[in-house]
C-alpha cells in the first residue's frame, strides 16, 4: 500500500496556470496572499496531511467510529489526536475572516488545502467540511451575537458543526421535513423531531457540536417556504462562551455503511425529554435561503471529494503497476515477466485516471476562483460574473467529479487485478468511500436538473453562452499548434455538439420542460467533459509557455489523451440529450409500470 504524497507540483501548476491566482491577490482583502506565503502554506499543509492525517485512513475504514451504549460516539483510532493537531495548526481557518481568527485567504487556496485533507482521509475530512458549511451559514445569516459566540471556536475547530436537513420522509425533497420549532417565550425555540443521516452528528473529537437544524415553526406555510434554520448546540453556551448544560439532543444510532466508516452517520433525536433549546438563524421561514448560500461551497467540496479520492487511488494504482509483474509486454525479453505498467491497457487506464484528475482539479479550482470573484470582486460586474460562473460550474463540479470519482477508483481496483478486490490491498476502500459522493449534497440526478432547469436559463442563457464562448477562445489559441491538432479537432466537435444541445435545451426548456429533464444527465456530462477538455488544453498551452520541455510534453499528451478518449465521446451524447420524454413516458406506462 502506498502512502499519500501530495501532488504539490500539480496543485501549484493549477493555481498558477488554470486559475489566475495573481488576479485573486488583487481582489479586496487578499493582498497578503503573496506567492511565497502561499507556497509556504502549501508545503506545510502537505507535510501535515501526509504525516498526521493520511496514516489514519486504513484504521478509519477497518475499525470505524463507534456508538457506545450511553449514546456517545468514539471516533475511529487516531482521529481524536489527528483532529487535535488539526485544530492546533488551525488549517480550518485559512479561508475565513480575520476578525474571527481566520486567515482571510482566497477560497481557492482553501480548496487546494482541502484537497489534501480529503485525499488523506475523506471520512475524517467530513467533520471540518460540515463545520465549514455551518460557519458559512452563520457568517451570512447569523445575528451579531451568534457570530460573536460561535464563529471563533468553530473556525478554530474547537467546536464542530453539522447540517441537519434530512428526515426519513424528506431527502431530495427537503420541503417535506417535519421537525418542529415552538417558541419558548424567551427568544429561544424548543426543537423536537428526528433527523437521519447526520454526518459527524456525535463524536468525541471536539468540545462542542453546533447543530444547524431545519425545522418548521407553528403555522408555517407548507413546503420549502415554511422552513426555518436553528442553531442547536450539544452543550448550551454561557454568555461568556463557556460550556453549560447538555442540550436535549442525542445520537440514537449510527448507520452501517458501504464506506466512509470513520464518519459516524447519525440518527439525531431532538427534544426527547424537556425539549432541545435552539436559536433561530436569520428570519423565520427563510431557512432554505440560508441553505442556498452555503450550498455552492458545500457542493464544490463534495465534487472535490471525487477528485481527492481519485488522486489517492491513482497514486496507489501507479505504484502497484510498477511492482506487479505479470505476462510479457510487447518487446520485452523472453522469459522475464514485465511490470504490468508496461502493458498498453494498463497505460491507457492510468493515463485516463491522470488526465481526468487534472481536468477535475482545474474545474474545482476554477469553480472556487469564481466564488472568490463573487465574494471579493473588484466591482459589481466582476462580482456578478463570478457569482454566475460559480452557479453554472457548481453542478458540474459536484456531479461530474463525483461520477468520475466512482469511475476512476473503479479503474484503480481494476489495475490491481484480483488484489483490488481484496480489502488488504486498501484500494477497494477508495471505491467504497467515494460511492456516497454522487448521492449526498443533492444527488447527481438533482444536480442535472439544477443545471438544466435553473442554471441554463440564467440571464436568458447568456451565462452558459459566455462559458461556451470562453471554450471557443481556447480553441482559437490551439490554432496552428501541430502537437495539439487532435485536441483542437475533438474540442471543436465537442463544443459544436454542446452548443447545439444547449440551444435545444434553452428552446424546449421553456416550451416542454419534461424533454429537458429527460436529457439533463447526458447534458451535464457533455458540458462538463467539454469544459474538462478546455482545461487540459489551457494546461497544455500554459506548459508550452513555461519553457519546461518535460512539462510541455506531459501536459500536451494528457490533453491529447483526454481529447481522444473523453472529448471524442461528447458528440455521441447529444442524441440522448435531445431524445425527449416520449419513450420515458411509454416506459413508465409499460415496462416500468411495476
Amino acid at each position: 500500500m502506498t502512502d499519500y504524497r501530495t501532488p504539490l507540483a500539480d496543485i501549484r501548476f493549477t493555481l498558477r496556470n488554470i486559475v489566475d491566482f495573481d488576479a485573486l491577490t488583487g481582489l479586496e482583502g487578499f493582498a497578503h496572499a503573496e506567492p511565497d506565503l502561499v507556497d509556504g502554506l502549501l508545503d506545510e499543509a502537505a507535510r501535515f496531511f501526509e504525516q498526521v492525517v493520511a496514516p489514519t485512513n486504513r484504521d478509519g475504514d477497518t475499525v470505524g467510529s463507534r456508538r457506545n451504549d450511553d449514546g456517545s460516539v468514539t471516533a475511529a483510532p487516531g482521529l481524536k489526536e489527528a483532529y487535535r493537531l488539526y485544530v492546533e495548526a488551525g488549517w480550518g481557518g485559512v479561508g475565513f475572516p480575520e476578525e474571527y481568527g481566520g486567515g482571510n485567504f482566497p477560497w481557492t487556496l482553501s480548496i487546494a488545502i482541502q484537497e489534501m485533507l480529503t485525499s488523506a482521509n475523506m471520512a475524517f475530512s467530513l467533520c471540518p467540511l460540515l463545520t465549514q458549511g455551518a460557519i458559512d451559514a452563520l457568517i451570512h445569516h447569523g445575528s451579531e451575537i451568534q457570530r460573536e459566540i460561535y464563529l471563533e471556536k468553530m473556525i478554530s475547530g474547537e467546536w464542530s458543526g453539522t447540517m441537519n436537513l434530512t428526515e426519513s420522509q424528506a431527502g431530495s425533497d427537503v420541503g417535506a421535513l417535519a421537525t418542529k420549532a415552538v417558541p419558548r417565550g424567551d427568544g429561544t425555540w424548543s426543537i423536537t423531531g428526528q433527523k437521519i443521516f447526520i454526518t459527524w452528528g456525535e463524536h468525541d473529537m471536539a468540545d462542542n457540536i453546533i447543530h444547524l437544524v431545519l425545522a418548521r415553526t407553528p403555522d408555517s406555510p407548507p413546503g420549502t417556504k415554511g422552513i426555518s434554520l436553528f442553531l442547536v448546540p450539544k452543550f448550551l453556551v454561557d454568555d461568556d462562551g463557556g460550556l453549560g448544560e447538555r442540550n436535549d439532543v442525542s445520537c440514537v444510532s449510527i448507520e452501517h455503511k458501504l464506506g466512509i466508516h470513520a464518519s459516524p452517520t447519525c440518527v439525531m433525536s431532538y427534544g426527547d425529554n424537556e425539549g432541545a433549546i435552539g436559536w433561530m438563524i436569520g428570519e423565520e421561514n427563510a431557512g432554505m435561503r440560508a441553505m442556498f448560500t452555503m450550498m455552492n461551497m458545500a457542493r464544490l467540496s463534495v465534487g472535490l471529494e471525487g477528485l481527492a479520492v481519485s488522486e489517492r487511488a491513482y497514486q496507489q494504482a501507479l505504484a502497484y503497476a510498477h511492482e506487479r509483474r505479470q505476462g510479457r509486454a510487447p518487446g520485452a525479453p523472453k522469459g522475464v515477466s514485465s511490470p504490468i505498467v508496461d502493458h498498453p491497457d494498463i497505460q491507457r487506464t492510468l493515463l485516463d485516471m491522470k488526465s481526468c484528475i487534472d481536468a477535475m482539479r482545474g474545474l474545482c479550482y476554477r469553480n472556487a476562483e469564481a466564488l472568490d470573484h463573487a465574494g471579493h470582486g473588484i466591482d459589481d460586474d466582476d462580482r456578478r460574473r463570478g457569482a454566475q460562473l460559480a452557479a453554472l460550474l457548481t453542478p458540474l463540479s459536484k456531479a461530474w467529479c463525483t461520477d468520475l470519482g466512482v469511475e476512476l477508483t473503479n479503474e484503480s481496483v481494476q489495475v490491481h487485478g484480483g488484489m483490488g478486490y481484496i480489502e488488504e490491498a486498501g484500494v477497494a476502500q477508495h471505491l467504497r468511500d467515494v460511492r456516497i459522493t454522487p448521492i449526498y449534497e443533492g444527488t447527481n440526478g438533482i444536480q442535472a436538473i439544477d443545471l438544466v432547469g435553473r442554471k441554463l436559463p440564467l440571464d436568458g442563457g447568456a451565462v452558459v453562452r459566455a462559458h461556451l464562448d470562453s471554450i471557443g477562445v481556447t480553441l482559437a489559441d490551439l490554432d496552428g499548434i501541430d502537437e495539439l491538432a487532435s485536441v483542437a479537432g475533438h474540442l471543436a466537435a465537442a463544443l459544436d455538439a454542446t452548443t447545439k444541445a444547449t440551444e435545444w435545451l434553452l428552446e424546449v426548456g421553456s416550451s416542454n420542460p419534461l424533454d429537458g429533464l429527460a436529457g439533463a444527465a447526458d447534458y451535464l456530462a457533455m458540458l462538463a467533459s467539454t469544459t474538462g477538455g478546455q482545461i487540459l488544453a489551457d494546461a497544455a498551452l500554459a506548459a508550452r509557455e513555461s519553457g519546461d520541455a518535460d512539462l510541455a510534453r506531459n501536459k500536451a499528451l494528457l490533453a491529447r489523451f483526454f481529447a481522444a478518449h473523453r472529448l471524442a465521446r461528447v458528440p455521441g451524447l447529444r442524441a440522448g440529450v435531445e431524445s425527449g420524454i416520449d419513450d420515458l413516458a411509454l416506459g413508465r406506462a409499460g415496462i416500468l409500470a411495476g
Partner: protein, 259 residues
C-alpha cells in the same frame, strides 16, 4: 535566554535526487527542506525558552544556494530569527569547513546554549557538533534526551546504550539532541504567516571573516574516494510460531553472532 539551533536544509529524503558522479556528493540544486533531525532541536529550544519564561530561539544554517524554505519551517514553529550563511564558495564543504562557518555565525549571536542534532540525515558524519564546540572553546554534550537549565548550568540526560547519564556543564555549551526525544510541533498556519516577517540575516563567508580557501571544495580535507550503491535489502525470513519460534530466533541471532 538565547538558544541558537543549527538547522541543516537538505534535499527531501522522499525525493532525494541524484549523486553527482564528479564530486561524488548529492546534487543540491533541488529544493531543500528542514532536516527532520533538526526539528527535535528546534522543538527542544522552543520548550526551554518557554520554561525560562524569557528569551528567544535563533537559527543558524549554511547552504550553498540561498534556500530558506527549511528555515521558514523552523521559523513557523516559533523561532524568532535566523542567520543564513549562503555563499557559492561553500559548495563541497566537509564537516570541519562547515563547523568553522557555523561557529563564527553562532559566536556572533552570543548564545546561552547551542543545540544541534546528533547527526544530519544526509551527510551523517555526526562530527559537526563537537567540532563547533571545540572551535568555540565550549563544553560539548552529546546525545541529549532531556535538558534542564538551572541558572548558568545545563543538566542533561545523555542517552547511552544502557540508559542515560546525568551530565552537568556550565553554560554556554553545545548540546546535540537525539532524534525522537520530543514531539516537534507542526507549524500553525498563523505561525507560517508570522514567519514571513521574521528576520533572516544573509551572511557571506567574507562577512564572517573567513578565508574562502578554508571552506568549500578549496578547503575540504576530505576526499570521497568511491561511492557504491547500497545492497538491495533481501526479503527477511518470516518465522511463524509453531511453539518453537523462540528457539529458531535464538539460533538465527546466534548465527549472526549478535548474541
Amino acid at each position: 535566554m538565547k538558544v541558537v539551533v543549527c538547522v541543516k536544509q537538505i534535499p527531501d529524503p522522499a525525493d532525494p535526487g541524484e549523486l553527482d558522479p564528479d564530486s561524488k556528493t548529492l546534487r543540491r540544486d533541488v529544493k531543500l527542506i528542514l532536516d527532520e533531525s533538526d526539528s527535535y532541536g528546534v522543538e527542544m529550544a522552543l520548550q526551554l525558552v518557554d520554561t525560562a519564561g524569557e528569551g528567544e530561539v535563533h537559527l543558524v544554517s549554511m547552504v550553498p544556494n540561498n534556500e530558506v524554505s527549511g528555515l521558514r519551517t523552523a521559523l513557523a514553529m516559533g523561532a524568532a530569527g535566523a542567520s543564513l550563511i549562503s555563499d557559492e564558495c561553500l559548495a563541497g564543504s566537509d564537516a570541519l569547513g562547515t563547523a568553522k562557518v557555523l561557529a563564527k555565525a553562532i559566536a556572533a549571536q552570543e548564545p546561552d546554549l547551542v543545540l544541534t542534532a546528533t547527526e544530519s540525515s544526509d551527510g551523517y558524519t555526526g562530527t559537526v557538533p563537537v567540532q563547533i564546540a571545540e572551535l568555540l572553546g565550549l563544553p560539548s554534550v552529546t546525545f541529549a534526551k532531556e535538558i534542564e537549565i538551572d541558572g548558568s548550568t545545563a543538566k542533561v540526560k545523555r542517552q547511552t546504550e544502557a540508559g542515560y547519564d546525568d551530565v552537568e556543564c556550565p553554560l554556554p555549551a553545545v548540546v546535540s539532541v537525539t532524534a525522537g526525544v520530543v514531539e516537534p510541533r507542526y507549524p500553525s498556519f498563523k505561525g507560517i504567516m508570522a514567519a514571513k516577517n521574521k528576520p533572516v540575516e544573509e551572511l557571506t563567508v567574507e562577512a564572517l571573516g573567513i578565508d574562502a580557501g578554508e571552506v568549500g571544495w578549496a578547503g575540504s580535507r576530505q576526499d570521497i574516494v568511491e561511492i557504491t550503491a547500497a545492497p538491495v535489502r533481501e526479503a527477511g525470513e518470516i518465522i511463524e510460531d509453531e511453539g518453537d519460534a523462540h528457539e529458531r530466533i535464538v539460533a538465527f541471532l546466534d548465527e549472526l553472532k549478535v548474541l
